[in-house]
């Protein structure tokens, strides 16, 4: 989840009167992480990127509080497209799409610049998937010389942000912090770039040019958004256009030319969705007041009109998250207030049935307790050292993890005993005898298919632990499981003393093994007393 930090006075300046500390943020589905002096840090759920921006946040909250209503006249464009952006075919396999606009009457003073930059960076980070899917370039329009081209080249030159002289594209990628962070997206080229009549203004998605840098004094912006998804770049441009219009900016569209096809960006289209009162009521489990539907819709930012017991919702262009009616119903639930919904029991009775394996494992656990074994619950994730080397066992096939942040994690356990031996090793100061069991799955491979198999394992550690003891326990466990007819035959499982290890055979199949653990294994696990052990397959 992304967070945003806003100054409370700045929120007030944008028209938000409600006290932000009084639950309103939670009621709309976001969360205040902390309030530090005059600054509030809010967690914004990923469906509402518009609220990562101070303008969008203040807009949503003041409408929710009923202080403001959605603009009736819709978000509109000013003037005819003046600028053409020509898109090269060379970008097709790299980063094919761009959306652009000119914004006039922009005020970047008093912290507005910081908010704008922070927001666009967050948007490129979240919706833009760390700039891979979309990246945003903000330029001082006064320093841009149209026409604009969007192209890709193996080489070219740019004066990168904070740079003094022209650099090759490769240098700008390798020599800047932004290049180090995002260079992986373009690799060794060809590099996508945006240029005006004279110079490169942006090495997308990495860095802009110093020559068109925006400052507090900037009043006219050229905004370009490049990316791999046409919808993503257009949506993001809509989002930005609305926020500028909300604070008095005038948005002039651009014509983006893809070969023979030309598109106008931004579009700022409203979508219309008709929702029945009944569908809202069904989802809520509450009756809504017909006279309040329009107010509720307004509070969530929709202009709405009634058609009998249906409502037409006009979805503003900045609401990227509204895919269909369900998302409107969700908003209407928020407007209704979750705290006002009275819980209603579900009619009809049903019988709860246990999972067969879990029930069986629980019965077996009671038998193990009766025999004096305490239960251990170990991690499923482990490594070859513990599973094979420490056990003096040949490394078998196992399910491997591709990449783990913790070094000790490389694979899923193939047997239960190593975990139990680790437990004994870390308990050497506790009184003997120490008896542990574990019931749980182990993971193996049959060809390329993973097999999850349930097992029980037991270990006993004390000065006189011996083969006869574990054999007697295993017999008791098997009897309790209804297996009376089993035999032992000499075996050589890894980790056991030769000649003191037996395979358990029942119904002609090997179902487990038992014996005395080899002293080298005891050394490996730092166990100080003799240990007997057994492991039995449950399936």
């Amino acid at each position: 989840m992304a967070t945003a930090r806003f100054n409370i006075d700045d929120l007030k300046r944008l028209g938000l009167k409600a006290d932000i500390a009084k639950g309103i943020v939670g009621s709309i589905g976001m969360e205040i992480e902390k309030i530090e002096g005059n600054e509030v840090v809010v967690d914004i759920t990923p469906n509402r990127p518009d609220m990562l921006d101070i303008v969008g946040f203040a807009r949503a909250l003041s409408m929710f509080a009923g202080e403001q209503t959605p603009r009736e006249g819709h978000y509109g464009l000013e003037g005819e497209p003046m600028i053409e952006v020509a898109v090269s075919q060379r970008l097709k396999e790299i980063r094919p799409y761009i959306a652009a606009m000119v914004v006039r009457n922009v005020d970047l003073k008093k912290g507005n610049l910081r908010y704008l930059v922070e927001f666009t960076e967050k948007l490129a980070d979240t919706n833009g998937r760390r700039r891979r899917k979309l990246a945003i370039g903000l330029h001082d329009f006064g320093k841009v010389k149209p026409p604009i081209t969007y192209d890709a080249a193996k080489d070219g030159e740019i004066v990168p942000l904070e740079g003094k002289a022209k650099q090759s594209f490769a240098k700008a990628v390798s020599g800047t912090d932004q290049g180090k962070e995002y260079g992986g997206i373009v690799g060794k080229g060809p590099y996508p770039f945006v240029a005006d009549a004279e110079k490169t203004i942006s090495l997308a998605p990495i860095i802009n040019s110093e020559l068109t840098k925006i400052t507090e004094a900037t009043t006219e912006l050229f905004v370009e958004i490049t990316g791999t998804s046409l919808f993503a770049v257009n949506d993001a441009l809509n989002l930005l256009a609305c926020r500028f219009i909300d604070v008095g900016g005038q948005v002039q569209p651009c014509t983006v030319v893809y070969g023979k096809k030309a598109e106008l960006t931004p579009e700022l289209n409203y979508r219309e969705m008709k929702v029945k009162d009944l569908d809202i009521e069904r989802a809520l489990g509450a009756i809504i007041d017909q006279n309040k539907v329009i107010t509720m819709a307004n509070r969530m930012g929709y202009v709405a009109a009634r058609y009998g017991r249906d409502t037409m919702f006009y979805v503003p262009p900045y609401r990227l998250d509204v895919l269909n009616e369900q998302d409107i119903i969700d908003d209407m639930a928020v407007a209704y207030g979750y705290e006002r919904i009275n819980p209603i029991p579900i009619m009809g009775s049903s019988i709860g049935i246990e999972d067969e394996y879990t029930a069986r494992a629980n019965r077996l656990a009671r038998t193990m307790l009766g025999l004096g074994f305490s239960e251990a619950v170990n991690y499923y994730l482990t490594n070859e050292q513990v599973s094979f080397e420490n056990m003096m066992a040949k490394e078998g096939k196992s399910v491997k993890v591709a990449e783990a942040k913790t070094e000790a994690i490389t694979m899923l356990r193939t047997t239960l005993l190593p975990g139990l031996l680790q437990n004994l090793g870390s308990s050497s100061h506790d009184p003997m005898p120490q008896m542990l069991f574990e019931i749980g799955p182990v993971f193996n491979l049959e060809g390329k298919s993973p097999i999850e198999a349930k097992r029980v394992a037991m270990v006993g550690e004390h000065a006189r632990a011996n083969f006869a003891e574990i054999k007697s326990y295993v017999a008791a466990v098997l009897r309790s499981m209804g297996i009376d007819d089993f035999s032992l035959k000499e075996g050589t499982e890894g980790g056991f003393i030769n000649g003191r290890c037996a395979l358990i055979v029942a119904g002609g199949k090997q179902i487990g093994y038992l014996g005395e653990i080899h002293p080298q294994v005891l050394n490996n696990f730092r166990i100080e007393e003799p240990v007997v052990a057994a492991e039995i397959v449950l399936d």
Binding site: A286, N342, V377, L381, V401, L445, P450
Partner: protein, 484 residues
């Protein structure tokens, strides 16, 4: 018998008497204390102090948290101070001069490096000694040990109680005069002969010193996580939910795609999810569902959907995958059987660096109710009743967002003890796109939650890693899990 032995001039220590008479130490102690009370033997005691280890202390015998901390710092090379949750470990590592803190980073001192590489830690050495012999002779302790002992005391890891130990045993004059033959008539340990032969009728029971100390017993116990999972299972079963389980090794399809998580979503990074290198792929099987899920993604997210991405093998990140698989089976349910209620409990995995706060594997419980006319009000009622059974009465709800539900909510409560709002679970009504792709036209209520966070609340332990150390002493001595 004890008196008889002493009369013969044998038995100068408890151990010796025990051996000669085949009695355990407790019985000998009882006998001696009884005899001493009657003035038949004189025992000399040394007034000393005996240390009693707390449960916490026993958990530290294998290693103190500050030792773990420096080991982690040494292993990782750089540890940020804000990542350290265990403040006890931090403050003791500092006090011991093992670490310096510079610009929010932890730097190991020489002493710290020594500890990280298996150097001896005085507090642990002393604690170990006390564990095997609780007697403390203050006069004989060196400076370092004395300091370590004081530290253990201030940390509340040990309790020092004055004790007296029997150092010599001698029979008194009065004792010598006693006719031991006659005294033997008093019953000490009741025997089979005495019971069956009726001999007990002629004998009296020699009274014991009921306050004499005894050896500790160690019950076999279930792991607390197992007990807690059973509490949760019983809560769902009692509400008429059927328990279902599903694979731990899962395809991205059932873990993510079936739940409408976009294929380029950040949670699908290696950073957060354990993908497998062997096997690399898992077959999805049901082609009809696969095609419907593909359509759902391409229409909803307007992005190309790739089967190869969906086939990736991973360790499930939530048990919602079990719910998804169950939804896909709903098309076979008879109309009269609705509402259908199902839950699952099981292990889930996140690719985290393990520390005091983070585990790479933990447990989740998920559930769904499928039927007609199901609402948020029904969902709230269900969750409330579930949490009531865990002793959490005042559950509240607020809106929240999860990609597979709409509307979505989060359940939370205010914890009086922690003075904090605790999130309990995420829930909502499954998106129609998903239910349609799974082949059902029913409304599906769904929720999912982590269990570890809750068990901390009931077990009163500080860190999750403690829960999975499986230290035998801790497993046997821990308190019962008490709900409410």
């Amino acid at each position: 018998m004890v008196l008889g032995l002493l009369k013969e001039g044998k038995g100068s220590s408890i151990g010796e008497i025990g051996k000669a008479l085949k009695l355990n130490e407790d019985s000998v102690m009882w006998a001696l204390e009884g005899l001493a009370k009657e003035g038949l033997v004189s025992v000399e005691r040394r007034e000393g102090q005996a240390a009693k280890l707390t449960e916490e202390a026993k958990g530290y015998l294998g290693g103190f948290p500050e030792e773990d901390l420096v080991r982690e710092a040494s292993a990782t090379g750089e540890l940020k101070i804000k990542d350290i949750r265990n403040q006890i470990a931090l403050s003791w590592a500092k006090r011991n001069g093992w670490i310096d803190i510079r610009e929010g980073m932890i730097k190991l001192s020489k002493a710290g490096e020594a500890i990280a590489h298996k150097g001896a830690y005085a507090q642990r050495t002393v604690l170990k000694e006390l564990a095997s012999s609780p007697e403390v002779d203050l006069s004989r302790l060196g400076k370092e040990r004395k300091e370590a002992l004081d530290s253990l005391k201030t940390r509340g890891l040990i309790e020092l109680k004055s004790s007296n130990v029997i150092t010599s045993i001698a029979i008194t004059e009065k004792g010598r005069r006693v006719d031991t033959e006659a005294r033997e008539d008093g019953i000490g340990q009741l025997t089979r002969d005495a019971i069956m032969g009726g001999k007990w009728r002629e004998m009296s029971f020699r009274p014991y010193d009921v306050s004499a100390s005894t050896a500790e017993s160690h019950p076999a116990r279930l792991h607390p996580m197992h007990e807690f999972i059973d509490v949760i299972r019983n809560a769902w079963l009692g509400m008429g939910f059927t328990e279902v389980s599903g694979p731990i090794i899962e395809s991205a399809f059932w873990n993510f795609d079936a739940l409408f998580s976009p294929q380029d979503h950040p949670t699908r990074d290696m950073q957060d999810t354990f993908f497998l290198s062997n096997p690399k792929e898992i077959d999805i099987g049901d082609i009809a569902i696969l095609n419907r899920v593909k359509k759902m993604h391409e229409e909803g997210w307007r992005e190309r959907w790739q089967e190869s991405v969906a086939k990736q093998a991973l360790l499930r990140t939530h048990t919602t995958s079990v719910s998804a698989r169950y939804m896909a089976r709903l098309s076979g349910v008879l109309e009269g059987s609705y509402p259908v209620k199902m839950f699952s409990v099981g292990k889930v995995f996140r690719n985290e660096s393990i520390d005091y706060k983070h585990l790479a594997e933990f447990n989740h419980t998920d559930g769904i109710i499928a039927g007609d006319n199901l609402s948020l009000a029904n969902l709230m009622d269900t969750l409330r009743k579930f949490y009531q059974q865990l002793g959490i009465d005042d559950v509240k709800f607020k809106p929240s967002y999860f990609p597979f539900v709409e509307p979505g909510l989060e359940a939370y409560y205010y914890d009086e003890k922690l003075k904090d709002t605790i999130e309990l679970c995420g829930a909502g009504i499954i998106r129609k796109e998903i239910t349609r792709a799974m082949g059902t036209d029913k409304t599906v209520l769904a929720w999912g939650m982590g269990i570890e966070r809750l068990i901390l609340h009931f077990l009163d332990i500080e860190s999750l890693t403690e829960l999975y150390k499986n230290n035998v002493g801790w497993l046997r001595a821990r308190r019962e899990l008490k709900i409410q």
